[in-house]
């Protein structure tokens, strides 16, 4: 301050003049105002306190000196970080005198933390505070809907970001309902506007997920997304929110609060909307897997049925065998019956032949009778008168005897015919008898000696057949 500290000669008070306090203080003040320009002063903050008026009072000090400082509310409102005692700051302002107390004060216009920039510090401070309030709690992060049908978008209407988002979303899934709630994304009021937009989409209630974001920019450009009002609006939103601010490397407070952080607006669109092509493919694949699965199941069962069927073939064979044997036995039975019938027929013929005996005898009798009669007539010609009546009587008796013999033979034949009918095998079966044949060759069994224990027999009843095994045998 060397040269500037030299007061102009005309301003030097006369040694002999007596000044009032007010004059003294004013003189000092005016001198300072005239001679001292703005400074950047660095020091440590102590005794910082806000006044009800909105002004901020603090003391700036170093190892040897201290100076009272005031930051009027108009400047204090622009301060983005929270001032705390012990903080090293750089302050821009002017030095002046507070006339009421004659005290030198530093009037701060702007303040930056040392080391970090003000925004950086503000960011860290808000982040810590919101984290402590649970706004970043991973457990409150909601899953995004798998296939949202209605998507809310909060961004500037005229920026590239909205174009990118729309392009990507509609390319991925052409049929969607998008509701854009335009918001200023930088400059004064941007944070409030973004918060309001989030609230409006919640009031509207149609969106199932909201993308909040903007394209890249400087830290100052992105600042609205570091404001507490935006963080709180995201936290309050009933609809899940995807933040999409700036570029990959930019992290904002909004990113920490949001349910999902997308590195860019384009990425947000990809995160929020599934690709219809991929979904269709996944569906097709699942459908193919489904068909493969059922084909596998059916194939498996078919194989099993095949195994069971192979096992079923054995009884089928048995049945076939049995049927064949039944056929054979039937044929044997028929043959036996036929044989029996033939024998019976033969017998009937024989009987018939034998029956012919008496007839022939009668005929012969008649023949001999007629011969006798001739002899008798020849004989009678001579003693006819003598023997005539006797001969007549003998002849009549003879005729009667022959007739009687025929009657008797006829009656016997009828009886035989009846008996023959009763011994037909079918009649026999009707009466509870059975035909027993061997299973082996269908032979009718008439002699116990022709079978051995263990032989299989078939028993033909009037209705149906039985199969039996010989247990034992008695001659």
């Amino acid at each position: 301050m060397g040269e500037q500290a030299q007061l102009p000669l005309q301003k030097r008070p006369s040694r002999r003049a007596t000044l009032t306090v007010t004059q003294l203080v004013r003189t000092v003040r005016e001198t300072l105002e005239l001679t001292l320009d703005e400074f950047w002063v660095t020091g440590e903050v102590s005794n910082a306190r806000g006044a009800p008026s909105g002004h901020l009072y603090f003391t700036l000090k170093d190892e040897r000196s201290a100076v009272n400082c005031v930051m009027f509310s108009s400047a204090y409102r622009r301060l983005r970080f929270k001032l705390a005692d012990g903080m090293e700051v750089i302050v821009r302002g002017r030095v002046n005198v507070y006339e009421a107390r004659g005290a030198m004060q530093f009037y701060a216009e702007e303040m930056e933390p040392r080391g970090l920039g003000a925004l950086q510090l503000a960011f860290e401070q808000l982040k810590q505070r919101l984290e402590a309030d649970g706004l970043f709690d991973p457990s409150r992060k909601r899953p995004l809907p798998f296939l949202p049908r209605t998507i809310g978008i909060v961004t500037a209407l005229r920026a590239a970001a909205i174009r990118d988002i729309l392009t990507v979303i509609l390319a991925r899934f052409p049929k969607l309902h998008l509701i854009i709630r335009p918001a200023r994304v930088q400059g004064p009021g941007a944070a409030a506007d973004i918060a309001e937009a989030i609230e409006d989409l919640n009031r509207d209630r149609r969106a199932e997920v909201i993308i909040v974001g903007r394209g890249g920019g400087s830290l100052e450009d992105l600042w609205a997304f570091n404001e507490e009002i935006v963080a709180r609006a995201i936290y309050r939103s009933a609809i899940p929110i995807v933040s999409a601010v700036g570029h990959e490397i930019d992290y904002t407070i909004a990113d920490f609060v949001a349910d999902v952080r997308a590195p860019t607006p384009t990425a947000a669109a990809q995160i929020v909307v599934p690709s219809m092509r991929e979904l269709s493919r996944r569906l097709e694949e699942t459908e193919a897997t489904l068909e493969g699965a059922i084909a596998g199941v059916i194939g498996g069962y078919r194989k099993e049925v095949g195994h069971v069927g192979a096992r079923l073939r054995y009884p089928l064979g048995l049945i076939r065998d049995a049927r064949q044997r039944a056929d054979e036995a039937g044929a044997a039975l028929t043959a036996a019956l036929l044989a029996g019938a033939a024998a019976s027929r033969r017998r009937v013929r024989e009987l018939g032949l034998r029956l012919r005996g008496p007839v022939a005898a009668i005929r012969e009798g008649r023949l001999s009778l007629s011969r006798i009669a001739i002899h008798l007539r020849q004989a009678a010609t001579v003693p006819a008168r003598r023997f005539g009546p006797d001969l007549e009587r003998a002849s009549a008796r003879l005729e009667a005897a022959g007739r009687r013999a025929v009657e008797i033979r006829r009656a016997r034949f009828a009886a035989l015919a009846t008996r023959l009918d009763s011994i037909s095998p079918l009649k026999v079966l009707e009466r509870g008898y059975a035909v027993v044949t061997t299973v082996r060759d269908g032979r009718a069994i008439v002699d116990a000696a022709t079978v051995a224990p263990g032989d299989e027999l078939q028993i033909r009843l009037k209705r149906g057949r039985l199969r039996a095994t010989v247990n034992s045998r008695e001659p």
């Binding site: 296939l147 049908r149 920026a159 969607l176 509701i179 918001a183 930088q186 400059g187 890249g216 489904l290």
Partner: protein, 90 residues
């Protein structure tokens, strides 16, 4: 809207569960075929759902009374990445 989208995801999960169950071989043939038929119905329903929504882009804004209203979106020429001219917007 919310409901139908949840249904899509659920149906897709159901479908995949059905495939897994059929694949597991734990089901009888009748159950497998029943599950398969349900699966086919799900595939059909899911495919329908993919085509369900009409494309619509709207802008949500407040009218003079502060009531929300939606108007169709008409793409405006973009200014710059920052959206710096957004002050003009309502």
């Amino acid at each position: 809207m919310e409901k139908s989208s949840k249904k899509f995801e659920e149906e897709l999960q159901d479908l995949e569960a059905i495939v897994t169950r059929i694949d597991s071989g734990e089901l009888s043939l009748e159950e497998s075929i029943g599950a398969f038929e349900r699966g086919v119905a799900l595939v059909r329903s899911l495919n329908q759902k993919l085509d369900e929504v009409e494309k619509k882009v709207e802008v949500l804004m407040r009218d003079a009374q502060g009531e929300l209203k939606t108007v169709p979106y008409e793409p405006a020429p973009a200014t710059d990445e920052s959206g710096a001219e957004d002050d003009e917007l309502p």
